[in-house]
């Protein structure tokens, strides 16, 4: 039986792990390769690396970082952040990434998703969506949550399926960094709206939050960063807990 996935996320800036609260106040959380290897040993099912570097130098650092990660760890990982073109995707996949996440560039040019899925297969194209509620609607934001768009989460997600996206990484900006639980209603609605796997992101603070994300939110995977980086939740403990709750999990 397919298991639910626990996915530590490493935000990367100039080759180092950082994590912001509500996308702000970034502080250093260590060497990404070290963290990645540690998470793999502890039983993480997958890893996500989101590069938030804005400079061209930093982008080159990313490709070599991806190579170092691939050399060290034997579980799958997704890389995203600033991916704009087929060439970007090719470079990251060739460096050893298993999947690539696109976000802002997909909103600006939805056909990019189509081109990428045709060239590399849907299974390695993850589309990341950052959204928050504005006037009771889930509005999509780009550029690391700084720029509002006129897109609505559920419509955008459905359109992405038509374009060939293989998976959706949905971050609720309302919940991100709050440690008050995932955006369960939105997750469940997303699950009803699209026939592809969904990674829940934003809001993990306690063991129960992951359980809720899988049971009420119907998520296929749950992503978290700071609770893992700062050892507030240990992955083996989390997986034991979920297993005891009867959730299908790889222990």
């Amino acid at each position: 039986m397919l298991t639910k996935r626990i996915v530590p996320c490493l935000d990367i800036k100039d080759g180092r792990t950082v994590k912001g609260v509500n996308f702000q106040n970034i502080r250093d959380a260590g060497d990404p390769v070290e963290l990645a290897a540690l998470y793999a040993r502890m039983g993480a099912d997958e890893l996500v690396f989101l590069d938030i570097t804005a400079t061209e130098d930093g982008r080159h650092t990313l490709v070599s970082l991806v190579e170092n990660i691939a050399a060290e760890i034997d579980i799958p990982f997704t890389v995203g952040g600033g991916v704009r073109s087929k060439q970007d995707v090719e470079r990251l996949l060739n460096a050893g990434a298993d999947k690539v996440a696109v976000n802002s560039a997909a909103v600006r040019d939805p056909n990019l998703v189509k081109d990428l899925s045709l060239a590399f297969g849907s299974q390695c194209i993850v589309v990341a969506i950052d959204a928050k509620t504005v006037d009771d609607k889930w509005q999509v934001f780009v550029s690391g949550g700084k720029e509002a768009t006129d897109r609505e989460l559920f419509e955008w997600a459905s359109q992405l399926v038509t374009l060939g996206a293989g998976e959706i990484l949905f971050t609720s900006m309302d919940h991100d960094g709050t440690k008050s639980g995932f955006a369960l209603e939105a997750l469940e609605k997303l699950h009803q709206s699209v026939p592809i796997p969904i990674i829940a992101s934003g809001g993990a603070g306690k063991l129960e939050h992951f359980e809720e994300a899988f049971i009420s939110g119907k998520a296929d995977a749950a992503l978290a960063a700071s609770v893992f980086h700062y050892e507030e939740i240990s992955i083996p403990e989390l997986k034991r807990y979920l297993n005891e709750q009867g959730i299908s999990i790889r222990v």
Partner: protein
């Protein structure tokens, strides 16, 4: 021992070669016919899309070479799929090593099948180090139905061949290079064939 990892357009050759290095083997990543033919074992990795992969293989004449190989050959994921006769992905005629048709996963579950799923009904030397029910990492939208070449199964919206085998040709749907210790065990078994 010389291990060739077949290089082509959108493969995950690097991940496979890293996994081999972790097992102490330094592979050659190549599309050169002599290097491939002259190696003791060949790994044909796969991430990508069937029709673009086949046209790339044809442009390098690898579609002629691969089916003729005599040494053990391991196709991974898309590698295994294009070793079959035909894939519904892009309606693609494939290499025809395994006389099987690659189908799209039924939509009764979410497609792609992404994540850790079990290895069951193990019937191959590739699985000496694995146990029934061990988890491996899968990432695919197309699959090979159960058939007379199936040597391991899994289940996701349909019974799925997790591994197939014919003579010196082996194919695995999961990614051994990304499946932790279980996956390294499978690669180690392949190296020891």
């Amino acid at each position: 021992m010389r291990i060739a990892v077949v290089k082509y357009n959108a493969g995950n050759t690097k991940s496979v070669s890293f996994a081999l290095k972790r097992l102490g083997v330094e592979p050659i990543i190549t599309s050169d016919h002599d290097e491939i033919s002259g190696s003791d074992k060949v790994i044909f990795p796969g991430v990508g899309e069937a029709s673009s992969t086949m046209s790339h293989l044809r442009s390098e004449n690898l579609d002629k070479l691969l089916p003729e190989l005599q040494q053990p050959v391991l196709g991974i994921c898309l590698g295994m799929q294009v070793m079959c006769s035909y894939s519904e992905e892009g309606n693609t005629d494939c290499l025809g090593i395994f006389k099987q048709i690659v189908r799209r996963l039924p939509e009764s579950e979410k497609v792609p099948h992404i994540g850790w799923n079990q290895l069951d009904n193990l019937k191959s030397a590739l699985f000496y180090r694995a146990a029934e029910g061990d988890y491996a990492y899968y990432l695919h939208s197309y699959f090979v139905p159960i058939n007379n070449l199936t040597v391991a199964t899994t289940h996701y919206s349909a019974p799925v061949s997790a591994a197939i085998q014919k003579d010196n040709f082996f194919g695995v749907q999961f990614h051994p290079e990304k499946s932790g210790e279980v996956g390294s065990g499978v690669l180690q078994c392949f190296l020891e064939l």
